[in-house]
Amino acid sequence: MSATTAPVPTPVVVQPPKVETPFRRMASEFCESKTAVVGLVIFAIIVLIAVFAPLITPQNPYDLAQLDIMDGRMEPGTVGGAGFTYWLGTDDQGRDMLSGIMYGLRISLLVGAGSAIIACAFGASLGLLAAYAGKRTDTVIMRLVDLQLSFPSILAALMILAFLGKGVFNVVLALVIVEWAYYARTVRGTALVERRREYIEAAQCLALPTHRVIFRHLLPNCLPPLIVVGTMQIARAIALEATLSFLGLGVPITEPSLGLLISNGYEYMLSGKYWISFYPGIALLVTIVSINLVGDQLRDVLNPRLKK
């Protein structure tokens, strides 16, 4: 500052002292990896595209009045009857693939993130309960977790959807049932260690109600591994939803996710019309990879064993 050379001391703007909160430390450590930051930025862009899809797409792919069957199966880059260019081509009904993908991202992200959040809340509560209550409760919950984890997720989801039938809600429910066990196991592992700490004992000595001890004292200290698992599980949920929709068991045809778009292009694949399946797949891949990159770095940042 020029305050030292100036004859009249100008009022120095007092910077508030930088407090190192856990969040700030985490953020700066996270930024150490360039790939992870790139992943985060790409994921943020994908979320923005999904949220604002109706405003930025050249066409509403579900408004039949805007579709022109004459524009069906056009190659990427062709100018259609409506006057704009189909950068990624069109599907069999003359739907612009780019618009379709942007709308598809909405469904995919909604189902993926929604199921992950519900599964997290449910699984984490059971995991905390198992660790805190111990004894019988612990045994029963953990046997359930073991049972759930011994069956591959795709199979369990298949079973549930075979009973319940298609639908966005049913898919979310199936994903929650498939995924809660991962959260429960993770939280229980951490909570078992944390609950022997003095601060829990202190909270218990203050005669705080049990739910307060669990959710206000125990839970915050079990968050780091939960965040890591949660990030990875969102990616898994999106992939699983796409797979189920591809198999025709997931979302209904009125709400096509990326998986369903890929499935629609399957029959045109053999005649060389690759773009109907190719581009939604790329969108799916970029989404999953960007989430995984973020999750990978979070795991390193939040793992106390790797602290320098």
Binding site: S150, I154, L155, A162, T243, G248, Y266, L284, L285, N292
Partner: protein, 323 residues
């Protein structure tokens, strides 16, 4: 050991029973059993007769017992579509699925072990970094989409490999196998590689982690100090020790490979159990769905039991813990 075996067997039986309750509740209680078990073409009189014959007017627990009794006798209903016993229908398609799953496991080990070994021995080389990045991609790529891309490249554009079906099969012990003919192998190549993709990444990561850990062990240092050649240290001392965990995990993964073959079979129209169940779900052929679920549960429990037993046989520490 025999006590442990008995206890595990008992646990497996319990799980099987629990799963049968879940499947029963899922199909008989959530859905309408009349619609599930009686062909929709039946008229009112036939319908009522069938309800009586199937015992659907009995209380739920009695229905469950008769369901269980029939299942134990191997009677899981008849398919509406094929008009054949559901169990037989599935067992006919099992060799195709097993062939695909074992083919995928073989490819995973064949590609994964050498790459993992290389990445573990030279962790800082350029090649190792490429291998590891590739393995992340292998985890992230959606299987069904990769399958479509394989078809597009190798079947549509290059025309090297057939895109669907099993090709020529040979009868051995009354079962049809395609890996014994050249045409069958050509049909098997793409689906097996597609199914193997995820496992290749897994084997690479496991092998690499194992190698890096084992290289620091005292017995490896000792083998080196003894003056053994680096090749002997790598292939006899290191490799043998990492093989146990890798093979165990790959064995464990057999179940999930069979499960994921549902996807691969649908993409490549491979006529296995997985394709059958997807087709059955789509046309609501529920006896086949029930039979498939019961068989797959039984299969999983058996695989889990065998892996646990193999593990305790290979690693004495597991046995001691369970005493």
């Amino acid at each position: 050991m025999s006590v442990y075996l008995l206890r595990r067997l008992f646990q497996s039986l319990l799980v099987m029973l629990a799963m049968s309750v879940i499947v029963f509740v899922g199909v008989y209680a959530i859905g309408d059993p009349v619609e599930i078990l009686i062909s929709p073409d039946a008229d009112q009189i036939e319908r009522e007769r069938a309800i009586k014959a199937l015992g659907l007017d009995l209380p739920l627990w009695m229905q469950y017992l008769s369901f269980l009794g029939n299942a134990l006798r191997g009677d899981l209903g008849r398919s509406f579509v094929f008009n054949e016993p559901a169990l037989q229908l599935i067992l006919q398609r099992m060799p195709a699925t097993l062939e695909l799953a074992f083919g995928a496991m073989f490819i995973a080990l064949l590609i994964g072990l050498p790459l993992g070994l290389y990445a573990g021995l030279k962790p800082n080389s350029m090649g190792a970094k490429v291998v590891m990045t590739g393995s992340i991609l292998g985890f992230s790529l959606p299987t069904f989409w990769v399958g479509l891309m394989l078809i597009m490249v190798f079947a549509v554009q290059l025309g090297w490999l057939p895109s669907t079906g099993r090709g020529t099969t040979v009868d051995v012990f009354g079962l049809r196998w395609s890996f014994l003919t050249w045409d069958g192998l050509r049909h098997l190549a793409m689906p097996a590689l597609n199914l193997a993709l995820f496992k290749i990444s897994l084997v690479i990561r496991l092998t690499r982690a194992g190698v890096r850990e084992t290289m620091l062990m005292d017995y490896v240092k000792f083998a080196r100090a003894k003056g053994l050649s680096p090749a002997r240290v790598t292939y006899v001392h290191v490799f043998k020790n990492i093989l146990i965990p890798v093979v165990t995990v790959v064995g464990l993964e057999l179940g999930s490979t069979i499960a994921f073959s549902v996807v691969t079979e649908s993409v490549f129209a491979w006529p296995g159990m997985g394709k059958l169940i997807i087709d059955s779900i789509n046309v609501l052929d529920r006896p086949v769905i029930v039979a498939y679920l019961m068989i797959i549960v039984l299969m999983f429990i058996t695989i889990n039991l065998l892996v646990d037993l193999a593990y305790s046989a290979l690693d004495p520490r597991v046995r001691l813990e369970n005493k």
